[in-house]
């Protein structure tokens, strides 16, 4: 069943057309990855889904059109986005950052439960509970960003280059966590530069180039595709 569907989506930054008619589908329970070079429009695709950029075309989530609604509404319907560059609230504590992730959750008990769950995934966050987000190292910030997104228990998690700037060991951990989340039933749309690793854990993949989808298919097929190898796996 398709949970998220984009049909012929165009996105613009002023006069620049960053997406030129993108169509993609994410089914419930899948890990789908979107790969492509710099400036191809990967981040823009995620932003379009969240309503952060102006778009034309159809974006539907769970069968409902969400293309024109404001980001906070989209978020409260169950789409969590871990943005490029982590975007931690640097002057809020780890605790407050997590609280903000759970902004749409009214039930205090639920918030508590999910906080505990986050600590299970990322024990480091428990140690740094009262620390300001901005003073944490890159890897810790990335963990916090993911944990923050999980606080709302999203139907689908959009991850934008979670491995960027992280030590190999952390990258490894993060990919493990993504797979674990997926096993527990979460749908994931993963944007990555690190195409090799992304395709290894994904079910399906899309290749995007200058605002257009140029290829799609099963992840392992893409991994062995010569063109993909040449361009993205080097």
């Amino acid at each position: 069943m398709s949970l998220l569907q984009l049909q012929n989506v165009h996105a613009y930054y002023g006069a620049i057309e960053a997406l030129k008619g993108i169509s993609l589908t994410v089914n419930e329970g899948e890990i789908v990855t979107l790969i492509g070079s710099n400036g191809a429009g990967k981040s823009t695709t995620l932003k379009s889904i969240c309503g952060q950029v102006k778009t034309q075309g159809a974006i539907s989530f769970n069968g409902r059109e969400i293309g024109s609604q404001p980001p906070h509404q989209t978020a409260s319907e169950g789409i969590a986005h871990v943005p490029e560059g982590r975007r931690i609230f640097s002057r809020l504590t780890v605790k407050e950052n997590l609280e903000m992730g759970a902004f749409s959750v009214k039930d205090k008990k639920l918030i508590k439960e999910r906080t505990e769950q986050a600590f299970v995934y990322f024990p480091r966050l428990k140690e740094r509970f009262g620390q300001l987000g901005g003073t944490m190292s890159g890897g810790e910030q990335q963990m916090l960003a993911i944990a923050r997104a999980l606080m709302m228990k999203p139907r689908i998690l959009l991850l934008d280059e979670p491995s960027m700037g992280l030590a190999p060991i952390i990258v490894e951990q993060i990919f493990d966590i993504i797979q674990e989340l997926n096993r527990e039933g979460m749908t994931i749309l993963l944007v990555e530069q690190n195409a090799y690793q992304a395709l290894q854990i994904a079910h399906r993949g899309y290749v995007i180039q200058t605002g257009e989808i140029i290829m799609e298919g099963e992840a392992n097929l893409l991994l062995s595709n010569d063109q993909v190898k040449e361009a993205y796996l080097a």
């Binding site: 969240c50 952060q52 404001p70 980001p71 906070h72 509404q73 978020a75 409260s76 969590a80 986005h81 943005p83 975007r87 609230f89 640097s90 002057r91 809020l92 407050e96 609280e99 903000m100 992730g101 902004f103 749409s104 901005g134 923050r148 997104a149 709302m152």
Partner: protein, 344 residues
């Protein structure tokens, strides 16, 4: 011999000077705190808006002024309707406070909607221009209405509390004289402290308060957390403006007379206070306001005495600014501001 004599003279003068300063010190403190409380609450309004939108809401002083006018005219309307005589003073006080706060709060929201929201993505300084424009508009609109109704924009309202309380500070130490305190000053201080404490709790303890700080730091990401950014900003403007408007009422009650231009000078002082405390920091604004108020009162009362008439009270703002500049040079983020050093 002559030398000795001079020394003695200077010593005597110094002694006189200190005793003169000490005599009025209680009174200076009382007056300074009262004025400072007004600065402090207005400063909070600047700080909140700055904290969240990172721009100096130049029109905030005018919102304060509008509050003063709304409160005063409400009271005048009560009076002409004959309601005032049958009403205890405190009821009337609360009524005008609430009216003014509601009015200015909504006005703040409206101003944000019309004059600032379209500029969110524009360069920061252009919003400053818009704010300057709004502040001119408000000055003139209020002037126009006051002028139309009363024939002059200098409006003197009704004082609800006029008594004077004597504080026997002389019994603490006999160098002190007694201080007089208007009943209204007590109200100003009490209301200001209540507002400040309430706000502090709101911002630091409630979800919406944290959301405000989150929006302040990163609007785009906040919206990804399902925070309605527009709503948070509107809320900030509502609270900040309502505080400003409420202080306007306190001010009008304290000094009796208001005009459409009180916002400019007071706004400037309050803004200075906000910066002194570390702009964006609510507690800093409170402290800055009280500090500037007392400092100003102290310099106006004693500069002339200290410099034997060479530099008088007219330099009080110079003193305030020099202290501000000195503090900023050594602590560039203000007294309470956290040094958010850019991480390289």
């Amino acid at each position: 011999m002559l030398y000795l004599f001079c020394g003695f003279y200077i010593h005597k003068r110094g002694f006189n000077m200190i005793s003169e300063i000490l005599q009025t010190l209680p009174q200076v403190l009382v007056d300074g705190l009262t004025l400072g409380a007004v600065y402090a609450v207005v400063a909070i309004g600047y700080t909140m808006v700055y904290g969240i939108l990172e721009f100096i809401n130049f029109a905030h002083g005018e919102i304060f002024m509008t509050g003063a006018f709304v409160g005063t005219s409400t009271l005048l309307i009560f009076n002409t309707a004959g309601l005032l005589s049958g009403m205890p003073g405190w009821v009337a006080y609360i009524l005008i406070l609430v009216t003014a706060m509601l009015f200015t709060g909504l006005m703040g929201v409206g101003i944000e909607r019309v004059a600032y929201r379209p500029l969110r993505k524009a360069p920061k300084l252009i919003t400053l221009i818009s704010a300057i424009g709004v502040s001119f508009l408000l000055q003139d609109i209020v002037r126009f209405i006051a002028d139309l109704k009363t024939g002059s924009f200098l409006v003197t309202g009704i004082s609800l509390y006029n008594e004077n309380v004597k504080i026997k500070t002389s019994s603490i130490w006999d160098s002190f004289d007694d201080a007089f305190l208007k009943t209204n000053s007590i109200i100003v201080l009490a209301v200001a402290v209540l507002l400040m404490i309430g706000l502090d709790i709101f911002i630091n303890r409630t979800k919406w308060g944290v959301a405000m700080r989150a929006v302040a730091q990163d609007r785009e990401t906040a919206s990804l957390m399902s925070i309605n950014v527009n709503k948070v900003i509107a809320l900030t403007f509502f609270i900040g403006s309502a505080l400003g408007g409420g202080t306007g009422v306190l001010f009008a009650q304290q000094y009796g007379t208001i005009d459409p231009y009180i916002g400019f000078i007071l706004g400037l002082k309050a803004f200075t206070a906000a910066v002194l405390g570390g702009i964006g920091n609510v507690r800093g604004a409170m402290f800055g306001g009280l500090f500037i108020g007392v400092l100003e009162m102290f310099s106006a009362a004693n500069l002339g005495i200290i410099t034997s008439g060479n530099f008088g009270g007219e330099y009080k703002d110079v003193v305030a600014f020099i202290i501000l500049i000195t503090i900023l040079i050594f602590k560039p983020e203000g007294l309470f501001g956290r040094a958010v050093k850019e991480k390289v």
